[in-house]
């Protein structure tokens, strides 16, 4: 039993189970926790583990909006949620959902922020005051008259937060607010939240997959798995335990993963470092007087053919007149390369890649695919050479079965029936959807729908695959699976071009990284080359992954250059482990 103190700003959940309507499997079971006023809580867990469900439980959406079958009680701000309407609870607990778009009601920022307080029938004067205050808390002062649809992703998310702050809640709950944002936007959201907590003394509860930020900002972490609370505690304790993060599908902190090579189950774990600075300091102390033995391992870059498959020559493009989204892009991509495109939100990554299959046409300059200028080649013809997987699988799924969905592209190509049958079977086997082939696609989970989208492109056997942000909003396991699948395709000979905000993935999987900033290519080269250009990266608002920082210091300590991934560093350290004083 939970015996928490009943006070305003607290949340006490004591739940036996909850089942969604018409569902036979409990989405949550045996959830017991207590959150105190002013705490900053991180909720972590795999996709489908019940994060969203448990957050909706707190403001009464469950059981009022999603009725279902609930046993147990939830007491928020001293109020039993079963006895109050969501609208009433909204005065005390504000919930910000994942999709910022559907949380914006007003045409202008000011109008949108007023939506909450005006629903509560506050006076005009009070509403104006609340607008001013909440916009300034999220750093949107001066944006009052801006049109909401023209805000950037990060600004929209902050506006959504301002919208609930305007109702002066005692608790603010956020469901994966950062999944669409680049690393700097992500950090900004956490910074704003901790600022709000300090100034207003509100309780903050946030779910997501941002390990670094959770470590830096949260007071306590709650891990859900299969609908149960499986772990609670300090973020430091969680992230120091690499096995724990592994077990619950949480992305580990790079420094912890690396320093895990020193882990000795007999001694205490003081040699696990959560920040690169600490680890570097430690290594310096240990390695001062030794000469490092550099392991000569296989280099994972296998020989590439020199045939150019994609070439952009002086490519410029503008969505509007006099406003270039791309300036003078010159790029060449060879057959069989695995290329990662990185850059902050709005840098022009998607705009560039849409030129590769003719969805957008250059304002000036040209694009060549397999040696021919594609200016007058239609997108449908190019779809056989360049496969494009969009970020949101739901934008393309329309069939009544998985199989029909995959067949669609081939039907556009006028192939014979047995040929279609054979290719579809092969692709479904490759992505692991064979058992689902007669299922209705809309009843699949998000991860499966993403695979289906890939399969429906792959079936056309394009030599070049463009994949836009394939891992957004996925958990760590899903991310690794997706990247492994891309690597396999690459090894089968496909040229892969992927857009990502996850620099760690770019470092680990890509042969080459291209950095976009303000519509220009500011940097390109192998991952070690790119990550050595700190100045340029900084001007493109990209900060180095922790593992790269550690690799750099290791180089200064006599290790070989170009160590950038967690695995490379671990390998080198293991090689030298005898040198390092472990006791």
């Amino acid at each position: 039993m939970n015996t928490g103190k009943l006070e305003r700003g607290s949340v006490i959940v004591d739940l036996e189970k909850y089942l969604y309507p018409e569902s036979s499997k409990a989405a949550l079971k045996k959830i017991n926790f207590k959150i105190n006023k002013g705490e900053f809580i991180g909720v972590l867990g795999r996709t489908g583990s019940g994060k969203t469900t448990s957050l909706m439980l707190m403001n009464g959406l469950i059981p009022h909006f999603f009725e279902g079958d609930l046993t147990g009680s939830v007491v928020v701000n001293t109020m039993n949620t079963q006895r109050y309407r969501v609208q009433t609870l909204a005065r005390f607990i504000g919930l910000v959902m994942q999709d910022s778009e559907t949380q914006i009601f007003g045409i202008t920022v000011e109008k949108d922020t007023s939506f909450g307080p005006s629903n509560l029938n506050y006076s005009k004067e009070k509403i104006k005051e609340l607008i001013k205050k909440s916009l300034s808390l999220v750093g949107l002062s001066g944006f009052e008259k801006r049109i909401t649809t023209e805000l950037s992703g990060g600004e929209k998310q902050r506006l959504a937060i301002a919208g609930v702050l305007a109702m002066e809640p005692e608790i603010i709950v956020l469901d994966e607010p950062t999944s669409e944002l680049d690393p700097s936007g992500r950090a900004e959201i956490f910074r704003v939240l901790s600022e709000i907590r300090k100034e207003e003394n509100v309780t903050v509860i946030i779910s997501g997959h941002d390990s670094e930020e959770m470590l830096d900002f949260a007071d306590r972490i709650i891990i859900l798995d299969e609908g149960e609370v499986v772990w609670q505690g300090k973020p430091q304790d969680l992230f120091k335990d690499v096995f724990l993060t592994e077990k619950y599908g949480i992305r580990p902190i790079e420094s912890a993963e690396i320093s895990n090579v020193f882990h000795n189950s007999n001694s205490n774990d003081s040699k696990i470092f959560l920040h690169s600075e600490g680890l570097i300091e430690y290594l310096k102390g240990q390695l001062e007087n030794y000469s490092v033995k550099n392991a000569t391992h296989k280099v994972s870059i296998f020989p590439k053919q020199k045939k150019t498959v994609i070439e952009a020559i002086g490519l410029s493009f503008g969505y509007r007149k006099n406003e270039a989204a791309l300036h003078q892009i010159n790029l060449r991509i060879n057959k069989g390369e695995f290329v990662a495109i990185i850059g902050k939100n709005g840098a022009g990554k998607t705009t560039f890649s849409k030129h590769l299959n003719g969805l957008l046409r250059p304002t000036s300059g040209q694009v060549q695919i397999n040696g021919r200028d594609i200016q007058s080649v239609s997108t449908s013809e190019l779809s056989r050479e360049v496969g494009y997987v969009f970020q949101n699988p739901d934008h393309q799924i329309f069939s009544a079965t998985v199989k029909e969905e995959v067949e669609y592209g081939l039907k556009n190509m006028n192939l014979s029936k047995p040929e279609i049958e054979e290719k579809v079977t092969r692709v479904l086997e490759f992505v692991g959807l064979k058992d689902y082939q007669d299922r209705h696609p809309f009843t699949l989970g998000k991860g499966e729908r993403q695979k289906l989208a890939v399969a429906s492109i792959l079936v056309m056997e394009p030599g070049i695959l463009v994949i836009d942000e394939p891992t957004t909003g996925q958990d760590w396991d899903g991310t690794k699976r997706m990247m492994t699948m891309m690597k396999e395709l690459n090894q089968k000979g496909h040229t892969i071009l992927t857009i990502t905000h996850n620099l760690r993935l770019a470092a680990e999987y890509a042969d080459r990284i291209i950095v976009f900033s303000n519509g220009k290519v500011v940097l390109e080269g192998t991952p070690p080359e790119v990550f050595s250009q700190e100045k340029i990266l900084e001007s493109a608002s990209i900060s180095l992954p922790e593992s790269v920082k550690i690799g750099k210091s290791l180089f200064e300590l006599g290790f070989k250059s170009g160590l950038i991934t967690v695995n490379q560093i671990k390998e080198q350290l293991l090689e030298n482990l005898s040198l390092i004083n472990v006791n």
Binding site: F65, Q87, G94, S114, N119, L359, S380, F398
Partner: protein
């Protein structure tokens, strides 16, 4: 923006939405009262002058009217041929200009063409008058007017939110069409049934996405306290000023004059 409101500090912009709607109503009634094209031509002139006085982009009006021109032409011709000339009161109008077919079938009368002109001008007047209202009135004012007319608050909210979501859904629709084109879908040039089939892969994701989004939207509404009370605070109220009362009075005078003139046989054909 998709909604054709153009801020300006013209006289028309400064009027209350109710004054403008009343004016609109009176212009429309007047256009329907008279049969003769002369009076409707006069009304076109007056409304065009008012529109010009607002200093809003005139090009937009041309864009609206241009696609109507073929319809106007068909209306003119067909009315010219088919309207029975003997029904006209004035002799000029009974005059038959020529017959399209031998043996006096399908006569083309002056009255017919004049009547056709009246019909097309009526539509033109309504179009221009609507433009005056939409160009000069922010949508919030219209929604507030609807609430003042005792329309349920929820309905007003549906309209305002619908408008807010047009650009968002437009972007979605573009992304969906791009996703399907990238899979080799070609739109158009496949015959009527082929064309329709080509759009199924676009329409289904649009509908499914709309349903998913609407669930999220409903949740977000509750999160922001929608429905806590039966109504919500309006930050901005529409207000009638002295100017509005004077103009409304003038408008009513015009209406009475028009009806009186009609009973006195002005503008018959």
């Amino acid at each position: 923006m998709l909604i054709d409101y153009y801020p300006s500090n013209s006289f028309i912009h400064s009027l209350d939405v109710r004054t403008k709607i009343l004016g609109f109503f009176i212009v429309t009634v007047t256009a329907f009262v008279f049969l003769s094209p002369v009076i409707n031509l006069l009304l076109v002139l007056i409304t065009t002058l008012i529109l010009l006085s607002m200093r809003t982009p005139f090009n937009k009006v041309k864009q609206i009217i241009k696609p109507l021109l073929p319809i106007f032409l068909i209306m003119l011709l067909i009315t010219g041929f088919t309207y029975p000339a003997e029904k006209f009161q004035l002799d000029v109008n009974k005059q038959i200009l020529f017959y399209l077919m031998p043996d006096n079938t399908l006569p083309f009368s002056t009255g017919g063409i004049f009547y056709g002109l009246t019909l097309t001008l009526r539509i033109l007047i309504m179009v221009i008058a609507s433009t005056i209202v939409t160009f000069s009135t922010p949508i919030e004012d219209i929604i507030q007017l609807m609430q003042k007319m005792k329309m349920p608050y929820q309905l007003a909210f549906v309209i305002a939110t619908g408008i807010r979501f047009i650009p968002t859904m437009q972007k979605k629709s573009e992304m969906i069409q791009e996703a399907q084109r990238a899979r080799g879908t070609e739109f158009g040039n496949k015959g009527l049934i082929g064309n329709i089939k080509g759009y199924i892969p676009v329409l289904i994701p649009m509908i499914v996405d709309s349903i998913r989004m609407s669930e999220n939207l409903a949740i977000a509404m509750l999160n922001r306290g929608f429905g806590a009370y039966k109504t919500a605070t309006n930050l901005h109220e529409i207000k009638m000023t002295k100017k509005d009362y004077i103009i409304c009075f003038a408008e009513l005078v015009v209406l009475i004059a028009a009806i009186w003139a009609n009973t006195e046989n002005v503008g018959v054909m």
